[in-house]
């Protein structure tokens, strides 16, 4: 089975043309400092570099990726950097909606059970008349300042009151993670391509590893 039909979810493959006349040694020398980060190990063999990351800090500019390979290919028309990066974060973000949908179903099941239990016990009938008859005290200062008169919390006002945990937050988070995956899968490959391009063309102002040198302690 060709996994490329679905592994795009967590694999990023792309390429960048090197500046005219740039050798693979020079290209790799420019990119190498990106891998001098805490939690990152890498190996360089001539025109290729492979790396792995474990416990990478948030300050690592490539923290979203866990491993990958970079390769400089030379053709008659010039040289090209090809790269293949793998991100578990993309995969987990893609799967997160399923987890939240499952949690929504668990909450639905608990709610059905609670509703059935309440109906069996005849608890849907409320004794709100008893509560409403009570007049709550209010401080004279609050009366003077115009705060609304206190009331007993208006529970049981809705006939279709939620019994048991609500599935709504889980549905909302499932939706949020769908949007988040789409946004991240577009944004992060763009950012890493821009990072590589800036390094290769010498446009990156901040060339020091972000997490290797804490700025305060």
């Amino acid at each position: 089975m060709n996994t490329r039909f679905f592994d795009w979810i967590w694999h990023v493959r792309d390429s960048i043309d090197l500046p005219a006349g740039q050798s693979h040694d020079e290209a790799m020398a420019r990119l190498e400092p990106l891998f001098h980060e805490r939690g990152t190990t890498y190996e360089r063999f001539g025109n290729s570099l492979s790396f792995g990351k474990k416990g990478q800090p948030a300050q690592d500019k490539m923290s979203v990726y866990d491993r990958g390979e970079l390769l400089v290919e030379t053709h008659a028309g010039g040289s090209r950097l090809r790269y293949h990066l793998v991100s578990r974060a993309f995969l987990y973000c893609f799967l997160a909606p399923l987890l939240f949908l499952a949690l929504a179903q668990v909450n639905n099941a608990i709610s059905h059970y609670e509703r059935a239990k309440a109906e069996a016990a005849g608890e849907t009938e409320t004794d709100k008349d008893k509560d409403e008859a009570i007049e709550l005290p209010q401080s004279s200062i609050d009366k003077f300042l115009g705060a609304p008169t206190p009331e007993i919390p208006g529970e049981d006002k809705d006939e279709d009151k939620q019994i048991g945990p609500s599935p709504t937050p889980a549905y909302v988070f499932a939706g949020i993670f769908v949007v988040l995956f789409i946004a991240g899968r577009i944004l992060e490959p763009y950012l890493v391509k821009r990072l590589f391009r800036r390094r290769l063309f010498g446009l990156d102002e901040d060339a020091t590893p972000a997490s290797a040198t804490p700025t305060a302690a």
């Binding site: 416990g55 979203v64 997160a96 200062i141 988070f173 305060a216």
Partner: protein, 312 residues
Amino acid sequence: MTIGWENLPKVEGGPFKRAFFRWFQPVMLVALIAFWYYAPNDWAVASTAITLGIGFKIFLLGLEWVNPRFKSWQLTWKEFAVDLFYVGMGYTIVRTLSSYVGDDVIIGAVQSAFAWEKFAWFMTMPLLLQAFLISFMFDFGQYWMHRGMHNWYPLWLTHAPHHYITQLNINKGAVGNPIELFLIGLGVGGFFDFLPRAFLLAGSLGLAVSIYQHINVRFDPPNWWRTIFNTTEHHSVHHSQDYEASRSNYSATWIFIDRMFGTAVDGEAEALGMEGGRSMSIKETMHFPFTEGWKSIKERFQRRNLPAVPAE
């Protein structure tokens, strides 16, 4: 790490920007208090508080981009996704569990056997005093729970994952093992939800003060604010890589509780985390209290079973 308010960097920019980031926190606090004080009874409900809270968080996320405290704390897509995962867990699993085995159960049982008139004396006090007392009682409990987490190993195991964060952002308060989130949420504050307005006013103190504990915004509030309330500066010291400094600033809202017990440290730190800034994955966060606890128990029993070495 920087100690002393006078040594912290100031907000840079024009007069409007400087005034905005100096007075934003006090103005928002007054605005929220005024809202809950005068809101009609139909508005003074939990769903309004949740909507306000979400809206305010989105606004604060925007502020993190406008005026970050540290560039190294800038929110990335991955950090945002991970933070939201923990927030999602808080809204789903932790909330469901809390409703069955947490303080909600005890409070609900007490409230169902509760005679309203017995609490009339509390309700005759001015609303703001009621709100302060509810907030103070909750924070006082939280102070000791949090301090206990830093001083008693079994509790520390639940809290430690939260200290592996290497930056502060608005949703970082939710990052941690669910057991810790459950424990830190325990408190008597929930008992007062039968006083909706005072309870919501107390909650607004949390929204307008403790929400800033984990935020990457360079505020420059007046010193009286920092004397009374917990701030992101205080909390960055609490999260610093320096062990001694991290044993400070335990309260969530009222930093004067730390001042009362001598645990307040005024300052800020940029380098945060544990083990020199190692990041902890979601998987490790979930199993850390159990696996580390198991390791500790095994080590203790192995030490006990070591044969005694005769003195030479």
